[in-house]
Each structure stands twice: as C-alpha cells, then as structure tokens.
C-alpha cells in the first residue's frame, strides 16, 4: 500500500517530509508500527491493571456482598467466630486515626512549606526539603517498629497519665472509654505516626504549589507593606488554594491505605467502637493485614475482600478528587504540576 499508511499520525513537531522519508525504507516499514503497538499495549496495560484489580475485588467479594448485604457497613463487630462481619469499628478506626494524622500533618506541612519557599536560602531549602522527603522513603514496618518500641511506651507511661491530670483529659473523645488499655497502643498513637508518614507528601505538593505563585504578585503584596505571613496567607495560600486542597487529598489517600505501621500501633480491637482516641481500635487495612492469612471460612475471606474493595473505592475517589484539584492549579497558572 502507499507509504502514507505506514506513517505515524502527523506529529505537529515533525516536518512532514521527515516522516515520509522515514517510512520510505523497506526494512523500516515494520519497525514503527510494531513499536507503536507494543508501546500502546503497555500503556493500556495500566488501564487493564486497574480495571482488572477492581474486577477481581468485586468478583471475590461478591459472596459477601450478596450474602451479607449492607450489614458489613452497619454492624460494629468483626467476629468471624460468631459469624459477625461488621466493619463499622474498622471504619471508625480508619476515620479517627486519619483525622488525628491530618490534624497534625496539614498545619505542620504548611508551615514547613512556608519555610521552604519564603524563609530560607534555596540551598538550605533543598537540604531541608530532601530530609523531609526521606521520611517518605522509610518503609512502613520501620515506622511501626520504632513506634512500638519507643513511641508506645512514651505515650503509655508519660503522655497519657499526664494528659489525664489536665482538664483536656476529660473532654469527649479524649476521656478513656471502656476499652482503654493505657493509651499506648491506640488510635492516637497510630494517628501520630501516620502523620509523619503522610507529612512529606503534603509538604512536597504544597511547596511545589506555593512556588507557582508569581513573584510579581508577592512583590506587590510586600510593596503594600505586608509581613511575610500576611503575604503568605492573604495572597499565596489564596492563589494556591486548589493545590493545597489537592495536597490534602493526596495525604488523605495515603493515610487511609497505610497498613503496617498502623497495624503495629492501633491495636486489634475489632469488636467495639472506640470512645476515645486513646482507646485501641483497628483500621480496615490493618484488619485485613492481621486476619487475612488465617481466614479459612469462605465468607470470611470474601468479607475481607469486600473490605478491601471498600478501601480501594475510597482511595480511588480521593485520588481522583486530588487530581481534579491539582489540575485547577495547572490551568490557572498555565504550567504543569
């Protein structure tokens, strides 16, 4: 057939003649199409992977979905021995530990980003930024190990006893509930460690987004006689706010799915709702991690997969929201995040 059919579709950056010249050689006729097909297949493999994952999860959780219905989401207790498959305790634990983590991590990330962008010499910012990013490289079990051997005793022996002597100790949500076991292995501990696991992600995205604020706009702010903080919160944060929201959602996504450290530190109370952040609890991810291997009952396995499906859906939704918000920053500044 004519040479034209073998060309790659016209790439605006490539002079037409070059593409035609490339396709003219006989030996070369097959190389490009094969290349294109293979590369495209690998690209599509990503999509296949994701839909495959979703499909497999749905398929394997179907017995639980059809057999248990919505009771998984409404029943508190997870007790396979009693044929109870309620994930409410796990959902509550996931939610609370993530909440604790975000309450700590988001303000911390923002002030660190402020420092990196406005307060220090670029060389110092690079070093500090890299050090914070190294937090993201530390594997989850190591956070868990340090947590259990160092943080847990500290919280149990020092922090909680002190806290209970202050008025704060009586507040709802902090006052120990009936399941209290000292507070060392608890939602709070899980949340605190989780905070430092998601900190580097939120910091990095916030920093990148704040760097996109045009220098002229900031100079105009300073020119009006504003302090560094005033420029930051009235101008920079406002300018970058969709990016910050995106950063928070990225942090949320990671916090929700974090498994090993949380499994070490949050406890394994599957059967009751926590009354206080110092109560032990569980999270969806750690529930799966701790019980999946020993699950023998078909329904139990299927219910665990269903939990996995729920977690998967939540993280996918959060990721998509994060992407959408981050894209807004790209559009308004005309750059690529």
């Amino acid at each position: 057939m004519s040479t034209v059919e073998l060309e790659a579709p016209h790439n605006p950056g490539v002079p037409r003649g070059a593409a035609q010249a490339a396709a003219r050689g006989h030996r070369l006729r097959l190389g490009d199409p094969i290349f294109r097909v293979v590369a495209t297949a690998c690209g599509l493999a990503l999509a296949v992977a994701m839909f495959g994952l979703a499909g497999v999860l749905i398929y394997n959780s179907w017995p639980a979905i059809s057999g248990l219905g919505t009771s998984v989401l409404t029943t508190v207790a997870w007790s396979p021995v009693n044929h109870q498959y309620g994930a409410l305790a796990a959902l509550a634990g996931t939610f609370l530990s993530t909440l604790v983590a975000m309450v700590i991590a988001v303000p911390l990330a923002l002030v660190i980003a402020l420092l990196l962008v406005e307060l220090v010499h670029p060389a110092v910012a690079r070093v500090v930024g890299t050090a914070i990013e190294m937090l993201a490289a530390i594997p989850s079990i190591i956070f868990g190990m340090v947590g259990i051997f160092v943080i847990v005793p500290f919280i149990q022996d020092k922090l909680v006893p002190w806290l209970l002597t202050t008025p704060l100790g009586g507040l709802p949500g902090i006052k120990p509930g009936p399941q209290f076991q000292g507070g060392g292995v608890s939602i709070f501990t899980g949340g605190v460690v989780l905070a430092f696991m998601v900190l580097p992600y939120i910091t990095a995205v916030s920093r990148d987004v704040l760097k996109m604020v045009p220098q002229v706009t900031k100079e105009a702010g300073y020119g009006m006689g504003s302090t560094t903080w005033e420029v930051m919160h009235k101008i920079s944060l406002r300018y970058a706010n969709s990016g910050i929201v995106g950063a928070v959602f990225i942090g949320l996504g990671r916090a929700l799915g974090e498994t090993m450290a949380v499994a070490f530190l949050i406890g394994s109370l599957f059967t009751a709702l926590p009354r206080s952040i110092f109560d032990p609890g569980t999270s969806i991810a750690s529930l799966i991690a701790l019980t999946f291997s020993e699950a023998t009952d078909k329904i139990q396995v299927s219910a665990l997969v269903e939990l996995g499906l729920i977690l998967f859906l939540i993280t996918v939704v959060f990721q998509i929201i994060a992407q959408i918000w981050l894209r807004r920053v790209q559009r308004s500044t005309g750059g690529r995040a």
Binding site: V216, E219, G221, G223, M224, G225, K234, I235
Partner: protein, 289 residues
C-alpha cells in the same frame, strides 16, 4: 559622571533650541517657571550604590524627588532605572544578594538604615509594577487590601474609601457593578488601574511606577497617563519608563540613567529640548536604544 545640578529654567528658556517635532511637551504644566531648589523634596537620594551580589549596578546616584511632581526616569534597558526606584521602598530586601549603600532621605530619615520600619515605609511609598498584578481576590478586596491591613475601619467607611480610590483611579464607572468579581477578570489596562487604586487607597505619599504601561495596549496607556497627570496634585510620582514620549508627555522632571549612573537630571522640557550632556542628546534622538 554623577548627576549634574539643575539650571534655573528661566535661563534655559532663552536659549531654547528647536524642539524635535515628534516629542510633545505636555501643556498643563505650571505656566510660571519654578525654582527647583525652592521646591520641597519628598525624597533626597545621596550617593546611592547598589549591588547584585558582587556586581555593582548603581554608582553614586544623587537626585531630588520633588513633592507633588512627576519625576520620570529614562534610559536604555539595563541601565538601572528599576533598580534605582526599587531602593526607595526597599523591595530589594526580599532578595538576599541585593544590597544598597548610601542615603535615601524620606521624611527626615534614611530609608536604608536598619531602623526603618519597612511596613510603614511601604504604606507611605506605594509601588505599581510592570505586569499588572491584582491579588487573587475580588476587585473590592484588592482595593481594600491596604486599608484593612493598615487601618481599623468600619464597613461603611471601608466601602467609601474603596469607592473613592476607584474614582480617583478613573475606573469606578467600569467596575462599580463588578466589585465582587475576581480582580484578574478585568482587562490588562483595567487591572493596572485597579493596582493603582489599590496603591492609593492606603493613602501613600509617593507612588513608584515601574514601567506601568509597557504591558498594556495604547488606549489603556493613554488613560493611565491621564491618570498620572491627575494624581500628581496629591501624590509624588516617580515614573520609570522606556518610552521617551511618555516621559515627555507626563513628567515635570526627568532623570536620564546610563549604566547605573545618573547622566543628567532636570526639568523635562530642558532635557528633551536642550540637554546638557551629549549622551542624553544621543539617547533622546534615538542614536542608541
């Protein structure tokens, strides 16, 4: 050579040579000749040096900026015009490697001293930048920014002052029904006038304008030039421009910069019709850009 002293205009007029026809000298100048040295100075600069790291960019600048007059700063690209006025409000302090040395007297005190309160300085010396830079907020909030920051005002008072500033910037009619729209929804020329309104709302004494029209279309430029002429009765204006015709149209005094030095400074009419320095003349007549 450092800036020269200025002759009395009356002496100069009698020796007037032909004004090149394409430069228009603005008509609404004070008719009577004024004596430069008897005018009150808003800003007195003595021996200003400026450094970008190790590189010196300004050499011994000495100049008097007179109250309620428009002083234009002209010169080829890279000659230090923007650098010079950015010393007045110490906006260069944002950048670690930029340093200034010398004296800039404003209201009796040296702006460059470490005792200077930058927040108050910048309230009194406002700045308009080359690229219109409205803040990411509504038109109203943009203008109210300086007011909210420096003053305690009740809502009615605030609204009045915002309206006042927008009227004085000749943009009120265009935005009065758009006050709650984002500032960057306006056109380029409108954005710049918004920035001017924002600057004057806080009631500064001086307005520094760094090539305010270079990113704006000619029609909007004309509006801004009219605005500058109207504003000068209340504010002292220093206008950096690469457009000589603009300087000739709008300013009372002009300083010609070249390679970080003030080559010549004097009444605009003199600079453009009978400059004392050869370099000035060469620049004015376009022998180099």
């Amino acid at each position: 050579m450092v800036g020269t002293t200025v002759d009395e205009p009356t002496q100069m007029q009698s020796q007037a040579t032909v004004v090149p026809p394409r430069l228009e000298v603005a008509e609404d100048r004070r008719g009577a000749a004024e004596v430069f040295d008897q005018l009150p100075s808003e800003i007195s600069v003595r021996d200003l040096d400026f450094f970008y790291g190790k590189e010196q960019a300004l050499f011994g600048n000495t100049i008097e900026i007179k109250k309620n007059r428009v002083t234009a700063v002209i010169g080829p690209s890279g000659c230090g015009k923007s650098t010079h006025i950015r010393a007045y409000n110490r906006i260069f302090n944002l950048y670690r490697d930029q340093k200034a040395r010398g004296e800039i007297l404003f209201d009796g005190a040296n702006v460059l001293s470490s005792q200077t309160d930058l927040l108050d300085l910048r309230r009194r010396i406002g700045m308009i930048f080359q690229k219109p830079s409205p803040f990411p907020m509504t038109v109203f909030d943009n203008v109210a920014y300086g007011l909210r920051q420096h003053y305690r005002l009740n809502r009615a008072d605030l609204a009045n002052r915002v309206e006042d500033a927008l009227k004085r910037s000749a943009i009120w009619d265009e935005v009065k029904h758009k006050l709650n729209e984002p500032g960057n929804a306006l056109s380029g020329g409108q954005q710049q006038r918004l920035c001017i309104a924002r600057a004057i709302a806080a009631e500064p004494d001086v307005l520094l304008m760094d090539e305010p029209c270079s990113a704006i279309d000619p029609v909007a430029t004309a509006k801004i030039e009219e605005l500058i002429l109207a504003l000068k009765s209340k504010y002292t204006i220093v206008l950096v421009t690469h457009n000589m015709q603009q300087a000739a149209r709008v300013s009372d005094y002009t300083a010609f910069f070249f390679q970080g030095r003030i080559v010549e400074f004097g009444p605009t009419t003199k600079i453009f019709s009978n400059p004392a320095e050869k370099q000035t003349e060469e620049y004015i007549t376009g022998r180099f850009g």
